[in-house]
Symmetry: C2
Subunit: 239 residues, 2 copies
């Protein structure tokens, strides 16, 4: 009998933010698979350091990091070939009867890297996705400010949107999260100022990790780390 594919959310960084279910699956899986960049341990793999059993560890190493740009016509075909090959390695373990847990930072189906394997394998093997604490939830919990109440609308927007569209979406929302903020802070600041929300915006870098930084966006400088986002909590007050 073939094994089960598990997409396992390992949360935003603090190893204690794994779920009981994720921890159980990591203990019982026959193989643990994870993506990593050349020369690095892999963030998802690092989070679960103290939680693994005797599973085979399957490191799926990206074929390049910054040498090939996203704008290069070779980028997407080469990444697709890499994901095909990675899916083949996971499938070989599933065919051999092993349950395979694919580690994914945050939540697997919410901007997660696990989806490249899910797309290729979920139709062919029994599959279960274990949700994880998202980066945004880890960050607003550390901030300790209510994000959404009652009938609030929340917008989750990428920092890569151009400023006018970013401002448009922020103006329509009661609360907002700007993802992938690190390289786009001046633009995000301009969009939040245009939407009248700059004073309420908070920058969180490496939330829930040892190196965490939390400060008003206005004081955050022009560039942050890869693991960073901007939170705009609701204005609504409680009864």
């Amino acid at each position: 009998m073939t094994g089960t594919l598990y997409g396992v959310g390992v949360g935003p960084g603090d190893p204690e933010l794994l779920t009981l279910k994720a921890a159980r699956i990591l203990r019982m899986a026959g193989a643990i698979a994870y993506f990593a960049k050349r020369g690095q341990a892999g963030n998802a793999r690092t989070i679960v350091d103290g939680l693994l059993g005797n599973a085979e560890q399957l490191r799926l190493e990206y074929p390049f990091t910054v040498e090939v740009k996203v704008s290069d016509p070779d980028y997407h075909p080469r990444m697709a070939a890499f994901y095909d090959e990675a899916a083949g390695q996971v499938a070989a373990r599933l065919d051999a009867g092993a349950d395979v847990a694919v580690l994914c930072e945050g939540d697997p189906l919410f901007y997660g890297s696990y989806m490249y394997l899910h797309d290729r394998l979920a139709g062919r093997y029994r599959t279960e996705v274990v949700p994880g604490i998202t980066a945004m939830s880890g960050c607003w919990s550390r901030l300790g400010r209510p994000m959404t109440r009652g009938d609030d609308v929340l917008a989750v927007v990428p920092g890569t949107l151009e400023a006018a569209r970013l401002a448009e979406r922020l103006a329509l929302a009661d609360a907002a999260v700007v993802m992938k903020a690190g390289r786009h802070l001046p633009k995000i600041r301009a969009a939040l100022a245009a939407a009248g929300r700059l004073d309420e915006a908070v920058f969180v870098e490496r939330g829930t990790m040892a190196e965490e930084r939390i400060l008003p966006l206005a004081e955050a400088g022009d560039s942050g780390a890869y693991f960073s986002l901007v939170l705009v909590p609701t204005r609504r007050r409680t009864v």
Copy 2:
């Protein structure tokens, strides 16, 4: 020394979806507090049934359920007085030196009932919020379809919005979650049809619980349970 206030997310329903940190805090807390309706066990309390230590259990019972309508001028003052009184009960334990864990379904700062106590106590006592798996994340994991990829925009909107505004927000988003859907299904269907997304919408009722139902929104009838939402996953494909 006064105790610490913990806002503890207990997830969407499946007790295995608590985090390791939440489980540790429930074991060590001096008191566990939770909201419940008259005659009911309390949903958050039920989720943690097998996970409690010897803590004092502090049941905070709502003064009314449906007898007083939200539109009644007495509703908000009476609820505010109830939350003041509940905060006083929690404060008494903190003053006596006990750590108090307030249980909250899903994630405490994301539409959570814990915020009524946080607003009243977080400035006065050491406070820590433990994030939980949100209902939406529990539901899309059970559905097993990627929700957001790459640079997608996600909109989280309440089913209480009127249809035209709902359609406007849905039209701007790559992926969407409609919260509090149960009583508003015909309106939500109309808004999704107007936004051209009805065929992609999925209704999830009591996600991750034993009575879970997952079906296309078009087939979901006109009314669902309190614990229900609508998911509109991204159209974007993988490489």
